[in-house]
Symmetry: D4
Subunit: 246 residues, 8 copies
């Protein structure tokens, strides 16, 4: 991976930037007052800054989204409500909203898949699908492939075994589950790929808005399972994509 | 079931009790100052009072144990440490100590199994065996049969499937598990018998001394699963025995 | 109980299924994309899949409901809001909505009670009735009988004693309570039937949305009490019904 | 109640104190460096400072104990271990140690009961007795009478009803219970006296060292029940004594 | 206090009840299906059943309210929203709604204060007033007097000392506080009357909806303080009233 | 700082107050029934009472606001919603509303900065700005200067290092962060000024509404960091201002 | 990876197993009563069963250890105390105990590294080293290489930057931290490799035995970070090794 | 404050360091394998690294202690047990152990107080003294003065008022309290200096090992109070010292 500094200096040398512009950009971020967009992120981490939409106005999301599009990036925004999404889609051609996962994705010209490897995205129940979708769009944004396995929770475990051979063909697995969160343990015991467990807030009463699923997954008896925050489909998709690149 | 009052009056009529004795016994308990032993329990609930040994001295346990033996009961004491157990066994012929489950059991003459039905006692890992043993001795005390299935947790789920037919032959199932507590959900989805889930304190860190297993089991996606307190093998064995009598 | 595989092969042999249909159905589930309905459930567990309505759209509920009706099952959906219920009732003749317990029940032709045994459904206060109703409709769905004992909490314990003889005639008991959740302990000490305790979210402040009732019930000093999740009337009714079949 | 200032000035006037001594004592406390003993407490609150022994050395306890004896007070120390108690008893004639409740009590000459009223001290189980004892010795220290009702928990509720008439004769009730802590609710619904509920740390697993009993009591459905900290027999005895004086 | 049974039999003897009516009423409650109103409550506990309005419909509240009015009682309902209150006030002449404390109170003819004693109701801040009001109306319902001391929290402790002499004249004290809940400790150290501490849900962040105030009060270093549930003004007023009767 | 008593007596001597007025004011607070405004606060603590707007009506806020303006104070109200703010601004000339921080500030004639020192206000993300704003307006109210450093969280730590020299010039630092709350630890290890950490409720799932950020900050491995309640920008600004005065 | 079944059948064909032996081994586990050792594990997951030593006797550990050595495996046991380790090392030549990480490792003849890739193991403080060691020995057991970076926590962040280039050369990173657990967020923002965060129980007070570090890591603002249980060095080393194989 | 780099270069120029030594030291830390001692700390933060003794061996503590002494620093180690302290004191002349606060302090030649300002260290009860001592020794190490006010908790609030004038003379206040943690709120409302609140683990039952005191202090109604971790006397002393330097 080329360093950000090399990238800017090259642009200066090539005449794409003035000295003033290069100087400004060497800081590595653009300051919009309400936000300092991290321009160096892709060079440091392999993927540009992702917009976390929760708690941002449509205007703020749009502002950052356009900045990133202008820089030529693949742009991903998560936790975007329908109204903000509509605003962005109206102004940015090519932006696509997934209403289940509540993601906005813009793929620049020249976007292509980076490997033949693939990530399996498993979810336990119908209600867990939105979290799975957030993971899947993230994987797509990062240039990777995924295969979906929905509604195969342990209450009817034959649904899992019916697809276990397909699951075993995946290079990394994401397992999304609410309730008692048992599925990552079962899957983790059946495969040799790394498993990322995503607890969801689907449940009631002593489920404690996902804390139960989270605790369950952290205490898995299966080896090879790591965990992300409750409902954090994005984090799972992002980490899984990094694993494909190892 | 004959009522306790009828029982006492019958004994009076038969001359086994004096009027004073009958009057005293109609209260339904014997008052030893530090404890009021519930003599009416068997007539009300189908099994005599069980001694919860934790926090009682060897002397107190022995005192109540002898009272119950004298009344002709099957006597069960749980959570009894080795020292107290030794004391009781020295003084009460026929008392048997299980050092794994830490139970003391005395079976009176004429003890016999009450049905042909049987309870399956499953545990997820080697470390869960003591809790399973507490359940098993309780089942034996109450006059029922059990079959053990040890160390068949979900990390190697073929160990469960290797025995699923035997498990399905049981009339009630007790499933003991620590860690993420996933096993009751998996078993619960495979059988038609009622399942009693027993969380154990086996785990570390975010296991919170069993709270994680407990929460997991309470949020099971399988139908037909009820739960008892952490490490409560006794409670599971007792309830399972009641279910055989329904 | 006949196995699911035998059932399908018999239908093939009888000409009710083509070879292709049988092959498809031997998988044991029907895949609708957003859900994999567990067709094998009744043969494995003794009752068909129950629809958990929370977090599902009216359309999704209706879709699965019709599938199950078409298969000839008794169909139960829980946690169904009034709008979804109206939609289902309009399209499925015979579906009945209970607005207190928020359940939808469809009983196929030939539905009948399976035993003479009965389940007592006790609740502590007026506000606990909806949870009791969910349990009762579940019991009805599974082909069993129940008797209701409402508003007999421990603040006026003579209301319980006024009915204790009727309660003792029940084969299994469900005790629903919020607040301090003391009722299952008191009932558990008076009967010989297994007791299923259902904590409810009725309370305020340090009640923690039902956690207090739940903890209280898990720590009961009475023997023979098992517990389900907060507000889980369905789970209690389901397990109680299984116990009748032991 | 005479004010502390009046008391000191009267002693000055009577010649029992010099001007310097009176000046020093008008501060209302004696400063020993490691502790400032509250000499004004009895005049402000009706009972002298009580020594909380936990975390204090035998030497510190002895020091304060002697100070209070010297001032002519009834002296109470709680949570005193056997070694410290032995030290105090050796040096202070008349000091009495209760090894169950772990209290030290010294009654000065002229100690007498203040009213005919009495406090009922109820406990649910044998293991709760030490907490009940702490309450009882506190009541005695404050010059009041108590009646004990031990081991009458709800698992055998006939033990409670056998004594309910005696209980109803008490002017204030203290109810001590561990496990699910149901007893204060049941008692609270049967009497017209104020009830002070004392949760204990007796239990295991989801009992959380007494938190369950505490939460249960705070959420009681009975009216007229107030609560103190876990294992706080002293606080209950103290408040109950104040209530007798209203 | 006359017993309920004596009361009913006397009415029968006097011809106010038929034999059938007396028989029915000897059960001690009236069964309305959704509720079993505890008619015996006043005779057992000294005050009739109080209606907990939360979670009840206007219709249900009205139904029970009228029943209690008809029986000649002082009637109190708590946690009643404005709509339900309007409905009751329209139909029951003499019912008065307190919109701050959200209580409904009906005082029958002949209502009068029972003692000259009085209860001090202290609150720490302006936002705690509604909880104080619930306590005050409860005290009034039970026939006792109260004095209000509002907004005298520890941030400006001179406001407390400005009124301490008035506070010391009260026979029982209720101290209502949110935030860190320090006020009951400070008051408890200054008076000789029993103190009932009421934590409120006023606060934010780590206040945890009142848990912080509750924990603080349970751990008070002052003697003579007991605690009720968060926002439970009713419970405090009720217990304080009982204390006046000791 | 002149004492409040001296202040009042001086006004009396100067003829600005009558004897009656002086007598009333020597109490140190003004009693409006629903609130006792602490007039002595500025003399005791160096800044007048601040209005906590949450849970107060527009009318109540306005009432106290006017009282404080009338007394000639700088007046600050926090957690004021837009409607209440509009009401106050309409009636009090010079009152200014900050819609981000939700503060109302009125600066009297003669307001001026008290020192050349300055407070750095750092926040980790865009969504933390409102809390930072509450701190900044508080600092302004107390007569001090601040410098803002927004959106420089650890995910792009070069944004922090780009400004570290400016940050090191501040005399006190406030660091506002949600999510994992790591920023105060990093800043704390780089500077010699005292750091006040403010956790925010920005996050989801296992963030527990700010508890995670709070716990993180309390456990910082950096020296010189103290912490305030979740979202408590006011508290941080207030304490930071006091530190400038040391 | 060859399947376990193929492996057994090949051995049968080759005459290394009798038909009876093959039949027995096709079950996939060896039943020792107290444990069912999962012989199929390596074929299913790529690494043989690892012995979790906590709660097992020296005898049990030794029994399973020998079984795995006999099968020709690399054998790893974690959480082994010094006494058990001594026993195993005496009886199994080649077993090596790491007293810091409390691991036992046996490498069979022919053990060799599987790739040139390497895992960076970072820890924040000296006290976190034992957890880092558990991870490192696990990595070694699985045939991979690691580089250690100890004591580079954020309180002196120049220690991290001094080694960042070496850290960036690693293919996967494990970051171990107690206290506020900030290090994974800082590292996660600086690298493009996947990061596994391991919270430790190092801390006190509000650290809650590691819960604070855990929550902090789950809420990281950096992308590409997944988390394992508190003190779970093994889990991190295992997952990191799997990632190298993707 | 001179920068660390300038310091090293000056020493090089002066001939106190060779080029190799200077190069090594410009890294800013000394690497001992088990620890990287932060040599730059004093230049960056104004005080050298402090040794946190918990979890370190006597040997490790001694090693780092000597390093810091050798560098000419004031050296402070906290949470040092008696055995480790003895070892250090034997080998390092001038090291002084405080057995109450469990601190080791070494003051180099030329140590002197830095200002005339002083810090008040207040504690609520006798058992809180060790935490106060940790704060006091830290203040001394950093070159500042403190005044102690012990055992002046709110249960006898006249003890606080007896010293309030002395307290008001302090420039910064540290308030240490366990139980309900009310003292910082009361003090905070009476003074104009910044207050640092230190919760302690002194209490029982619902005190939750200090969590109650911590929560209470975080929710203080007084302005100007910030909080540190439970029992963190060091942190309070350190921050208070920084405040004196503002």
């Amino acid at each position: 991976m080329q360093s950000y500094t090399t990238h800017i200096l090259t642009q200066l040398k090539n005449g794409h930037l003035s000295i003033e512009e290069a100087e400004e950009q060497l800081k590595g971020f653009t300051d919009y007052g309400f936000a300092k967009v991290d321009d160096e992120r892709e060079f440091r981490q392999g993927f540009p800054e992702v917009i976390f939409g929760a708690g941002k106005t449509a205007e703020q999301i749009l502002h950052i989204f356009k900045h990133l599009v202008y820089k030529g990036n693949t742009v991903l925004a998560t936790r975007v409500d329908a109204n903000s999404a509509e605003e962005v889609c109206r102004q940015v051609e090519g932006a696509v909203y997934d209403s289940s996962g509540r993601t906005l994705l813009y793929k620049p010209e020249g976007y292509e898949l980076k490997t033949e490897k693939k990530i399996g995205v498993i979810c336990a129940g119908t209600s867990d699908i939105p979290v799975a979708r957030e993971a899947e769009v993230t994987i797509e944004a990062m240039g990777h492939r995924y295969v979906s396995f929905y509604d195969i929770g342990v209450a009817g475990i034959h649904r899992l075994f019916a697809q276990i051979e397909e699951i075993r063909k995946c290079d990394v697995l994401i397992v999304v589950a609410g309730m008692e969160g048992a599925l990552p343990s079962v899957v983790g015991g059946l495969v040799s790929a790394p498993v990322i467990a995503v607890p969801t807030s689907i449940g009631y009463g002593a489920h404690l808005n996902g804390i139960t699923s989270l605790l369950s997954m952290l205490n898995t008896c299966a080896s090879g399972v790591t965990v992300v925050n409750i409902d954090n489909g994005f984090g799972a998709g992002y980490s899984a994509s990094l694993m494909l690149r190892v």
